[in-house]
């Protein structure tokens, strides 16, 4: 599958905007990604190994948080995973 890397994380993925990962689940894809690019780990996961609260994961157009199997959801080679940190604020 293809994992799209957002602008702020590209310096930790050798400058790439997309990375191919050979995996069968979303969690497996993240594991493969962070094995290849270990510096990404602290940006994506908390110390306890959970995906950071502000990091949104979209499998194609679906928010992984709301998929029944969440990160255990199966993936195929044609799927895309977008990593999108949240955007919010206010005065």
């Amino acid at each position: 599958m293809t994992i799209f890397i957002p602008t702020p994380l590209r310096p930790y993925a050798a400058g790439k905007d997309a990375v191919e990962a050979d995996a069968t689940t979303v969690a497996g894809a993240l594991e493969a990604l962070t094995l290849d690019y270990p510096d990404l780990r602290k940006h994506l996961f908390t110390g306890e190994g959970k995906v950071r609260a502000f990091v949104n994961l979209y499998l194609n157009d679906e928010d992984v948080r709301y998929l029944p199997a969440k990160e255990a959801t199966g993936v195929t080679a044609s799927d895309t995973l977008s990593i999108i940190p949240s955007i919010a604020g206010g005065d």
Binding site: P8, D17, V55, D61, P85, I87, G89, G90, D91
Partner: protein, 158 residues
């Protein structure tokens, strides 16, 4: 934390057209906050913005002082940017009747390290000051906003 008087550490460049689009968006949504994404190229001095993409503010519960862009909308904006060979350079939002300085909420909710956060004060419906802040640092734990100079390029289309 950034010192409001500190010398700008980087430069955000954009055409007059894009600059005015950002400010006009804030006037249109007043008294609510507007928000959107900035697409562009990275340069050694900072981002060169090529276009501003409007986004919806999902914080309809408190739109006068909060904004949020739906992640799926951002996924789609990024896909479009990628096809154009551009990246997400940063984001913009407005502060209705509030100074163009980042707030604690802006800082706590800023996660795009290396990107520019543009804020326009909209005073009584009219765009006033526009400032940019670059989210510097290398991790969530050492992030900070740094003042950034906005260079508006006259005579350059889009």
């Amino acid at each position: 934390m950034s010192d409001p008087d500190a010398k700008p550490a980087s430069t955000l460049r954009m055409s007059r057209t894009v600059y005015e689009q950002i400010r006009a968006h804030g006037e249109e949504t007043y008294p609510h906050e507007c928000c959107g994404a900035l697409l562009g190229h990275a340069t050694a001095a900072g981002w060169q913005v090529e276009s501003a993409i409007r986004a919806g503010n999902t914080r309809t519960d408190s739109a006068h002082n909060r904004y949020e862009i739906a992640p799926l909308e951002l996924v789609k904006i990024e896909r479009k940017a990628r096809k154009q060979g551009l990246g997400i350079a940063g984001f913009y939002h407005s502060h209705p009747d509030h100074p163009a300085q980042w707030s604690q909420t802006d800082f706590a909710d800023a996660h795009w390290l290396g990107c520019s956060y543009v804020i326009t004060e909209v005073a009584q419906g009219t765009a006033a000051v526009t400032h940019s802040f670059r989210l510097a640092g290398s991790t969530e734990e050492d992030k900070r906003f740094e003042n950034e100079a906005i260079v508006v390029e006259d005579g350059k289309n889009s």
